[in-house]
């Protein structure tokens, strides 16, 4: 009877009971699921991934065909999702910061416009916004033959109702030289940044760190660009015409438009050339095409997340005590110094945790692509499930992939957050795990008393 009053026993007993219930439940579930699958002649496995996919993925015709395997289709879907996330995160942060600053503006009209926009975006569901942007905005763009070209001749951006085509940059053989010089410039700029930071900390001198670093990087890169453009370009080029190769003068071939973009890059004088999209019949060639669904999804995700980030930024900046700004004024700090030294560090402390949350939301909301049939990870997976019936395996894969994406973003945001948090009396400075191993061994295995060590 005393056993029942023993706390340790109760704890272990409860956990054993919990584990027993859990495993019984899992076993029953697995049994009934495999029974149901077997009734449909489906065995949960991953072998189907090698089979032929048999379905198209819009926008991926250049690197995916229906003859590829299901696994290849899954990877293409993952690439699409990552493309949406990689473009969406920085763009929504930028737009969110702009909107957040507008929310704090002194001007009543600017503030009202920002409040109006942010309230509408935050209080309507993302799916409705996505439908609105896709059906009302993107599909109302003109058809391919009347595309909007920005600027009109040699366009950089082409918009039509099939999507957007961006000009692409191709590297010529001189790019290596330019890249090496630019890399040296960036290295010098980074060193300048670190050194100048040390001097500022030590002596308090006001060295323009930002301008200096940017100036060094840009200046050296410009120098490298000009240096790489100095050598003469080849004057003749071999082209294939009617099956035989012959040499023609570069100027003639350019005038007669005989060269492909890659050949043009080969004979270019500059390290990089900009290749504009060109209309060829019913399509545009020579650019980076993005489908209309991708455009709609990215735009609506950016706009939706930016509204939430705007509120977070506003709350963060308002969380800085007003006395701080008054003290900075009293010390004679300019607006830029106040912003960078006083307001931003304290505001960022409050902003970064919910910001990381919004990044996770963006990554997960990208799965709404299935509503407009954009071939992202989830949409491809549901097509695969429809075709093969292997819902258990595919769902496991999909959930693990999303979990991996979420955990990566959360991991990075945790590191960033750690940099900004206050170090106070309560902060526990933990040594890295390899330094803690020795202590753990001493404490638990060898049972020697544990001595706290202070280490820098």
């Amino acid at each position: 009877m005393a056993l029942l009053r023993d706390e340790r026993f109760i704890k272990i007993f409860l956990q054993v009971v919990f584990v027993a219930i859990f495993f019984t439940g899992v076993a029953l579930l697995a049994q009934s699921v495999s029974y149901a699958l077997a009734a449909n002649n489906l065995s949960p496995s991953f072998q189907f991934l090698g089979l032929r996919a048999g379905f198209n993925i819009g926008g991926a015709e250049t690197y995916y065909s229906p003859d590829d395997s299901y696994w290849r289709a899954y990877v293409v879907g993952l690439e699409n999702t990552l493309r949406v996330i990689v473009v969406g995160l920085p763009a929504s942060t930028l737009l969110g910061i702009v909107l957040g600053i507008m929310l704090l503006a002194r001007n009543f009209l600017i503030r009202s416009i920002a409040q109006f926009v942010v309230e509408i975006l935050r209080n309507t569901p993302l799916l409705v916004q996505l439908f609105a942007i896709y059906y009302i905005v993107v599909l109302s763009l003109p058809p391919v033959k009347d595309s909007i070209q920005i600027p009109d001749m040699n366009p950089l951006i082409v918009l039509n109702n099939r999507g957007i085509v961006l000009a692409e940059m191709l590297a010529s053989p001189r790019f290596m030289l330019f890249a090496v010089i630019a890399a040296i410039g960036i290295a010098v700029a980074v060193t300048f940044w670190i050194e100048a930071g040390r001097i500022i900390e030590r002596t308090g001198r006001n060295i323009p760190r930002i301008r200096g670093a940017i100036g060094i990087a840009v200046g050296v890169a410009l120098f490298g660009y000009i240096l790489a453009s100095v050598p003469l370009a080849p004057s003749t080029i071999t082209i294939e015409q009617d099956g035989s190769s012959m040499e023609v003068a570069v100027s003639d071939s350019l005038a007669q438009n005989l060269l492909t973009p890659e050949q043009r890059a080969e004979v270019a004088r500059t390290p990089l050339i900009v290749v504009s999209p060109q209309k060829a019949g019913l399509r545009y060639v020579n650019g980076n095409p993005y489908t209309a669904t991708y455009l709609a999804l990215t735009i609506s995700l950016i706009v939706y997340t930016a509204a939430f980030i705007a509120e977070i930024v506003r709350a963060g900046i308002m969380a800085v005590d007003k006395g701080q700004i008054e003290a900075a004024r009293a010390l004679g700090l300019s607006f830029e110094r106040t912003l960078s030294l006083i307001i931003l560090p304290q505001a960022l402390r409050v902003i970064i945790p919910p910001l990381g949350n919004q990044y996770l939301n963006l990554a997960k909301n990208s799965s709404l692509a299935i509503a407009i049939s954009f071939s992202d990870l989830f949409q491809v997976s549901s097509t695969i499930i429809n075709q093969t019936g292997q819902s258990v395996s595919m769902f496991a894969m999909v959930m693990l992939t999303y979990l991996a994406i979420s955990l990566s973003i959360a991991f990075v945001m945790n590191i960033v957050n750690g940099r900004f948090q206050l170090i106070s009396r309560d902060t526990v400075i933990q040594l890295p795990w390899w330094k803690r191993l020795g202590d753990w061994v001493t404490h638990s295995v060898l049972r020697r008393p544990h001595v706290e060590k202070m280490s820098s």
Partner: protein, 686 residues
């Protein structure tokens, strides 16, 4: 020591007169100066944004009144609100009762927890007044006319060829008057045709399109002529312009009204009864002559036959009192002589019969009989699909066609709700007066409200459970999903949060961490799909579970994980001294949790919980992707129908407004709760 002699106090009696603060710093001028025009840059921003706002607002208002076709919203309101349940009157009655009950509960809670000031009641009064008065005020506005073409010439407009119909069937109510007249005011010139604002059939639509195209070409012809004659045009341009001029002139030699000889002929009309043979009235209409009026003897179908009394001519007939119809198919249980449903002997289910209803677009008059036939052939119905409203709608047509019916329908729903909110408030007010609170016991009103909301789920379940869950849809489904999601996930979430903090039970702790991180790391749509697809796999007997219940399971799991994190935040904010003191008093862990930790933690996270409620409300729109007919999905299906194709803007604007209103109200309530001090730490609102 001699004390110091008293100091003389120096009193100034002639202060400078007090002056008012500089005019430009106080009042409205001061506000303008500091908020809109403090610096030159701000002035620039003000001008630019004021310009943008004005342009945007006027564009929006103009589109709302003149350009938007609101029929997809006004004719589908019950579909948007309750989905397919609208066909079953018993289910509709149950949903209505549930709504009224909730309204009463809201009124009671308002009085118990706060006060509605005079400004609030003023707002309610204004809303009620608007809902009552606007429909009555728009009654005298005359409805637009309906235009139909008849004749022998087919009308060509672009790539479209329309053949005028010469007979059509329409519905009318008893003792309504129809007035027919030849549309001579529109058919004299092309400009008259292009300016038509009425219900037009396809042939008339083609006529109007050709007329406006011709007017545009006329304008272009004048412009080209001007360019040719102007001395600044270079010669090669002049040549192209001349070719263009010749091409334009050749295709536009005759006005449209003359090509189709619209203003010439007279017409004979005959009104027949439903059987297709009984002639009820005939008349001959002349151009510019009197109109023909006829009073309908009964509510049913009628046939209108038109004959143009000239060869190679068309006419445009202007009708008042005849309006297009929408068709709707419903199923109804067949009732026997005694009023009870007839049970089919083989299946044991009540027999159902499918009925096609024809509903008039301008009011809700409907007829359930089949369309009339002549010689065994169906007479073309005057359907809304083929006879849409055409033209730049003037304000009075907007009021009588859209705003009036919309306010009337909303009034029928909202006025009882507003009345019940006021009634609940009054009841609680009287209760408070009769039984004044005796501190320290909580007020009687608060206890009543607590029990009312605790029992509300049970009452609602009793009301709703007998309706078919497969038919749930619209805003009703959204609400049910949100409510069930929050209510059921609350205990689960609290348990998960407590389990996550159970330091002494590592198995439970890591299990809870695993569940929470797994569910929070995947999108809601995957959980929804999992629930929809995987539920039959778990147990084949579960494959009959309606989709709404599967969605509820998914939403509950999802919401529980997020709630667990929120509650964990609240649990972490409690100083450890509380638990230590409780243990010192001899409480065991369950007592500590239930009596000390949880009440404080939950009170601290109430604002975050309401925020979670709002996100859940918006996230229920995702069930549209798994095929459930929630508000978003109903809007999609409406826009897919033939009558409402291309009306996405209007429909989406409406459902966005509905979501916005509810989310905004919930956020407002949350801010009020937070301001009243329920939250402990100032949390960053997401």
């Amino acid at each position: 020591m001699t004390p110091n002699p008293p100091q003389k106090a120096i009193i100034y009696t002639n202060d400078a007169p007090r002056r008012h603060a500089p005019l430009a710093t106080t009042g409205i001028l001061g506000w303008l100066r500091s908020n809109l025009f403090p610096t030159w840059f701000d002035t620039l921003l003000t001008i630019v944004s004021a310009f943008a706002i004005i342009v945007g607002l006027t564009g929006l208002i103009q589109w709302t009144i003149s350009g938007a076709n609101w029929y997809s919203v006004t004719r589908n309101l019950s579909n948007l609100m309750i989905g397919s349940l609208q066909a079953d009157p018993i289910a509709v009655a149950r949903v209505n009762m549930m709504t009224l009950l909730l309204a009463f509960g809201i009124g009671v809670s308002l009085r118990a927890w706060s006060r509605v000031g005079s400004r609030g009641w003023l707002g309610v009064a204004i809303a009620a007044l608007l809902l009552l008065i606007v429909p009555i005020a728009v009654t005298p506005i005359p409805l637009p006319a309906s235009l139909v073409t008849s004749g022998s010439i087919s009308i060509v407009s672009g790539s479209v060829t329309e053949i005028p119909q010469n007979a059509m069937s329409f519905i009318g109510a008893q003792s309504e008057t129809i007035r027919l007249r030849l549309a001579s005011s529109f058919t004299q010139t092309d400009a008259g045709l292009a300016g038509v604002t009425a219900f037009t059939d396809r042939a008339a639509d083609a006529l109007i399109t050709s007329a406006s195209a011709r007017l545009q070409d006329q304008g272009r012809i004048e412009e080209v002529q001007r360019l040719i004659e102007s001395p600044t045009t270079p010669a090669p341009d002049r040549a192209t312009l001349t070719t263009e001029l010749d091409a334009l002139r050749s295709t536009n030699d005759l006005p449209i009204v003359d090509i189709y000889a619209l203003s010439g002929p007279d017409m004979a009309v005959r009104v027949l009864a439903e059987d297709g043979t009984t002639v009820l009235a005939e008349a001959e209409l002349t151009q510019g002559g009197d109109e023909f009026t006829f009073t309908l003897p009964e509510s049913s179908w009628y046939i209108l036959e038109r004959t143009v009394l000239a060869e190679n001519a068309n006419t445009l007939l202007e009708m008042h009192g005849v309006y297009p119809v929408l068709e709707r198919g419903i199923t109804r249980t067949r009732l026997g002589e005694d009023g009870n449903p007839i049970i089919d002997s083989r299946s044991g289910q009540p027999q159902v019969v499918s009925i096609t209803q024809h509903i008039r677009v301008t009011d809700d008059f409907l007829v359930e009989t089949a369309q009339p036939k002549q010689n065994g052939v169906d007479v073309t119905r005057y359907l809304f699909v083929n006879n849409q409203y055409r033209g730049v709608r003037p304000l009075d047509h907007f009021l009588v066609l859209h705003l009036g019916p919309f306010f009337e329908k909303m009034g029928r729903a909202l006025l009882p709700c507003l009345a019940l909110v006021a009634l609940g408030y009054l009841v609680m007010h009287l209760l408070d007066k009769l039984y004044p609170p005796v501190p320290p016991t909580p007020k009687l009103s608060r206890r009543i409200v607590f029990w009312m909301w605790a029992l509300m789920p049970i009452i609602i379940y009793i009301l709703i459970a007998s309706t078919d869950a497969r038919e749930w849809g619209g805003l009703f489904l959204t609400f049910i999903l949100t409510a069930v999601g929050i209510v059921v996930s609350f205990p689960i979430g609290v348990l998960l949060a407590l389990g996550r903090r159970a330091e002494g039970l590592p198995v439970v702790k890591y299990f809870c961490i695993g569940v929470i991180e797994l569910v929070r790391g995947v999108p809601l749509i995957t959980v929804l799909f999992l629930a929809s697809l995987a539920l039959p796999l778990v147990n084949p007997a579960l494959s009959n579970v309606p989709g709404a219940v599967r969605a509820m399971v998914a939403i509950t799991i999802f919401s529980a994980a997020y709630l667990a994190e929120n509650v964990r935040g609240g649990l972490q904010s409690i100083p450890p001294g509380q638990t230590e003191a409780a243990k010192a008093l001899g409480m065991n862990p369950p007592q500590v949790t239930m009596l000390i930790t949880l009440p404080q933690a939950l009170r601290a996270v109430i604002p975050t919980l309401v925020g979670q409620c709002i996100s859940l409300f918006k996230d229920t729109s995702l069930v549209a992707i798994v095929g459930l007919a929630d508000l978003t999905r109903v809007a999609d299906t409406i826009v897919a129908q033939a009558e409402y194709i291309g009306l996405r803007r209007e429909t989406y604007l409406f459902i966005a407004a509905v979501y916005f209103i509810f989310s905004f109200v919930m956020a407002y309530v949350s801010r009020k709760i937070e301001d009243s001090g329920s939250g402990v730490a100032r949390q960053v609102q997401l």
